[in-house]
């Protein structure tokens, strides 16, 4: 286990450097002048040339990309991800300010999707070919097919504007998080239900399940003691990726619900060519995915003794 941890953590650093090179390079090569976009974003539209020139000089955008990257990397090595071109705030602080809201949404959505999808998938597998199974598959298809922004607006209209049960704006409160988390969770419920069902069907055809049945165990006991652990081994990587993906934000939902998360920050920064924020976001997302994968490996190793020897 210790060796696994050391190997995975050691692999993270070169990965982050590669991510930062790609993010910095691609973002710098993208069309559009960051200085002009930033001036226009401040209300001067179209941007007067003298204001653009002043902004370009201020941000040192006239330096070569390589020079700017090396400067950034030197700062990043000391924990300084630079400052936003727009707000002049440290990027790390901007990210950390939005992290709690993003974590809350990610955790809530993951909880909802796991709570709904795992029992539904296993139940559908136990009732394979029945109307319950078909209903579960319908839910899965609907969740995958319905566009997030449409679902968000429909739920907002129904529960916010019409019924008044829930706030239209999302907020990091028990009531305020329900609608955003539900919208974010919906596509994952779809994927997770299908994967759980497929895994459970696979497990249910195993010899040890047949043995358990022959011993007279109840179906619920078979599901909880024998099927669930094996299913979890297969769906844990997906859950970890879901969590990691959500830690990089859910931009569409954040826009509709005015959720102060990382996704909206990243999209706005990308559109305004705020390179330090975009690169910082890419690095932070890389860390989130690496840690989520690491956590998944650990959890799987703990659940499945066979994995510990790997």
């Amino acid at each position: 286990m210790a060796r696994l941890l050391i190997m995975r953590i050691a692999a993270i650093i070169p990965m982050l450097v590669a991510i930062s090179v790609l993010a910095f390079g691609l973002h710098s090569l993208a069309p559009g002048d960051p200085a002009r976009l930033l001036v226009e974003a401040s209300g001067l539209s179209p941007a007067p040339p003298e204001a653009v020139a002043a902004k370009r000089a201020e941000l040192k955008l006239d330096q070569p990309i390589a020079t700017r990257y090396v400067t950034w990397l030197a700062g990043a090595a000391q924990g300084d991800l630079g400052r936003s071109y727009r707000t002049y705030e440290p990027v790390s602080r901007m990210y950390l300010e939005r992290l709690p809201a993003t974590l809350a949404l990610a955790a809530a959505a993951t909880l909802i999707s796991a709570t709904v999808a795992i029992p539904l998938g296993i139940f559908a597998a136990f009732r394979h070919g029945t109307s319950i199974d078909r209903a579960a598959q319908f839910i899965a298809v609907f969740g995958a097919a319905a566009p997030g922004f449409w679902v968000a607006l429909m739920l907002t209209y129904l529960f916010g504007a019409r019924l008044g049960w829930l706030p239209v704006f999302g907020s990091v409160t028990p009531r305020g998080i329900i609608l955003p988390a539900l919208v974010v969770a919906l596509p994952f419920i779809s994927i997770l239900t299908r994967l759980t069902r497929a895994s459970a069907l696979d497990v249910l055809s195993s010899d040890f399940i047949n043995v358990a049945r022959m011993k007279g165990l109840r179906e619920s006991a078979i599901a909880l003691r024998h099927a669930l652990p094996n299913v979890l081994v297969q769906i844990t990587p997906l859950l970890s990726l879901e969590l990691a993906g959500l830690l990089s934000g859910a931009a569409v939902v954040e826009y509709v619900f005015a959720w102060p998360g990382i996704g909206r920050l990243a999209v706005d920064s990308a559109l305004l060519r705020d390179t330090p924020v975009v690169v910082g976001f890419a690095v932070a997302t890389g860390i989130a995915f690496a840690l989520a994968n690491l956590a998944a490996d650990i959890i799987i190793a703990l659940i499945d003794p066979r994995q510990r020897a790997v």
């Binding site: 069309p31 559009g32 002048d33 002009r36 976009l37 974003a41 401040s42 209300g43 001067l44 179209p46 941007a47 007067p48 040339p49 003298e50 204001a51 936003s84 727009r86 707000t87 002049y88 901007m94 950390l96 300010e97 939005r98 709690p100 809201a101 809350a104 955790a107 809530a108 993951t110 909880l111 922004f149 968000a152 607006l153 907002t156 209209y157 916010g160 504007a161 008044g164 706030p167 239209v168 704006f169 999302g170 907020s171 990091v172 409160t173 028990p174 009531r175 305020g176 003691r225 669930l228 652990p229 979890l232 826009y255 509709v256 619900f257 005015a258 102060p260 909206r264 706005d268 659940i303």
Partner: protein
């Protein structure tokens, strides 16, 4: 440890995270001159329930808009600072485009070179310091030194002097009749840098920020000692909601009282208890034509192109009829001098092209000397109505024999800076400070920064030079009229629609108000609680 134990741990961790959510929003706060802890505590108190129950009886105005400033600094976000009622300028522009005093009580001049500004005797900065002559001189000097665009409005060679406590004298190198207009620009807002202030600057406006999360939300509270008396609302909460549908739903649900930048298509059925206010604005959508290259170096093509476009159709499909079709830089109804508009005339458009040798070919596209009448029309997405307008123009002019290709530009300024472009959609606030010269000076004269098409007319340049020093009001108006006639006769650009300003509000929260054509003036004394009447 068995599987159930692990599941239990997982559930406890996730549930714990969810439950803890209610206490976590303190991290969204920043602020200058205030400790992060204090700011966090304030924010938790103020916004913890903001999305659930906020009483409007306390005089709080809740706004959902498509924009919250990134900073509260005049250098970066001067426009927003004036727009949201934080800062003021010496003069401002009225709804009918007239200059009116603001922080200044009066501005006078004998020769338009030496100007005397008399200040209000009761205006103060938020820290209580008076807005006296010394402060105004220091503020204007600071702007000239630090804000790149400020010298466009106030000659950097100006001599500023505080004559007495309430009187400032400005001695300019040459006569500047439009100085009162120029002083209305947000580049010359009155401020004092102050690191101890929340925003890093002392301003004078009716509302001062107590909380601000860049690009997310902002809370303002009334400045009770404002020179015009206590502001109508005790507090103003501004929240960024990018999605226009979500903004309107929030208005319908009562979570906000006022919504800015309502898309025209959502304004028709706002819902019970909601009023929509529309006004033509000084922003104009138009097409820049490249006068240096074919086909628009041919006056006949420019004329036919312009008079064959049905502006009413554009207005209907792109702005649900809420815009104002225009044939020149100034829309009707803004209080600006205008000329008689041209009219849609398809027959004349066809005959003009025929006479110029552009004949219809077998494929329906006109051609001349073997060259088809084809062009690329650039557009861009940040103003969603522009691509819609471009498609309609493509369709309308296709029937006349134009072959138009639409190209969406990622950076319209860069695309228009390419000398090879044919035509490009553009949108500019052509009268930001009530001075119609601005439209010509920035888009049409030889040295205009947005004259990408290389349009040139010697008489127009002369007129703008004359207007710099012409003091007689009727003569100035005559020159502005003549300038418009020149631009119309040359078909310099193809003007299309004056974009509307559309705002929706709850009638139980906000009293009826008149919407200013310029969105620089968004939060001011005209916004009052419903209980106060109009």
């Amino acid at each position: 440890m068995n599987v159930r134990s692990w599941l239990l741990i997982l559930a406890v961790v996730l549930t714990g995270t969810l439950v803890a959510c209610g206490d976590d929003d303190d991290s969204e706060n920043i602020g200058n001159g205030e400790s992060p802890t204090a700011a966090a505590e304030d924010h938790a108190t103020e916004t913890g329930e903001a999305t659930e129950v906020v009483s409007t009886s306390s005089g709080e105005l809740r706004i959902a808009g498509s924009f919250v400033p990134a900073t509260l600094q005049p250098l970066e976000d001067g426009y927003s600072i004036v727009q949201f009622g934080l800062a003021e300028t010496l003069t401002r522009i009225s709804a009918d485009q007239q200059v009116e005093p603001w922080l200044a009580e009066s501005i006078t001049s004998e020769d338009d070179t030496v100007w005397t500004i008399t200040l209000r005797d009761n205006a103060t900065f938020w820290n209580g310091d008076p807005v006296d002559a010394a402060a105004v001189v220091a503020s204007l000097a600071w702007s000239l030194e630090n804000i790149p665009s400020a010298p466009q409005y106030l000659d950097a060679a100006v001599e500023l002097e505080a004559i007495d406590e309430r009187t400032v004298e400005l001695r300019l190198p040459e006569a500047t009749p439009a100085l009162p207009n120029n002083l209305a620009t947000f580049h010359l807002l009155i401020t004092v840098p102050d690191e101890s202030a929340f925003s890093g600057y002392q301003y004078t406006g009716p509302y001062q920020p107590v909380d601000h999360t860049p690009d997310t939300e902002m809370r303002l509270e009334a400045y009770p000692d404002h020179w015009a008396g206590p502001p109508p609302f005790a507090a103003v909460e501004v929240k960024l909601v990018r999605d226009a549908n979500a903004r309107m739903l929030a208005l319908q649900s009562g979570e906000v009282d006022l919504v800015n930048q309502v898309p025209a298509e959502l304004a028709s059925n706002p819902g019970a208890g909601i009023e929509v206010v529309t006004t033509p604005s000084t922003r104009v959508h138009y097409i820049i034509l490249n006068h240096q290259t074919p086909p628009f170096n041919d006056p006949a093509v420019r004329e036919a192109f312009s008079i064959a476009i049905d502006r009413d159709i554009l207005n209907e499909i792109a702005l649900s009829g809420r815009g104002t079709p225009t044939w020149g830089p100034f829309a009707e109804g803004l209080g600006l001098p205008t000329i008689d508009p041209l009219t849609l005339d398809l027959e004349r458009a066809a005959s003009v092209l025929d006479e110029a040798g552009w004949t219809v070919g077998d494929n329906g596209v006109r051609e001349k000397d073997g060259e088809p009448l084809e062009l690329t029309l650039l557009t861009y997405a940040s103003r969603p109505e522009l691509p819609v307008i471009a498609v309609s123009i493509q369709d309308q002019l296709g029937q006349l024999g134009f072959d138009i290709t639409i190209e969406q530009s990622e950076d319209i300024v860069a695309s228009l800076s390419d000398p090879a472009f044919d035509a490009g959609m553009f949108s500019v606030n052509l009268v930001p400070i009530g001075d119609p010269r601005y439209a010509f000076n920035v888009t049409l004269i030889d040295v205009a920064i947005y004259n990408y098409g290389g349009y040139s007319n010697a008489r127009l340049n002369e007129i703008m030079t004359e207007l710099q020093t012409e003091r007689d009001e009727s003569a100035r108006e005559a020159l502005i009229i003549e300038a418009q006639e020149i631009v119309a006769a040359d078909f310099a650009n193809t003007y299309l629609i004056s974009a509307p300003r559309i705002v929706a509000y709850r009638t139980d929260a906000v009293a009826p108000f008149t919407l200013h054509p310029n969105d620089l003036y968004q939060i001011d004394e005209t916004l009052r609680p419903a209980s106060s009447g109009s």
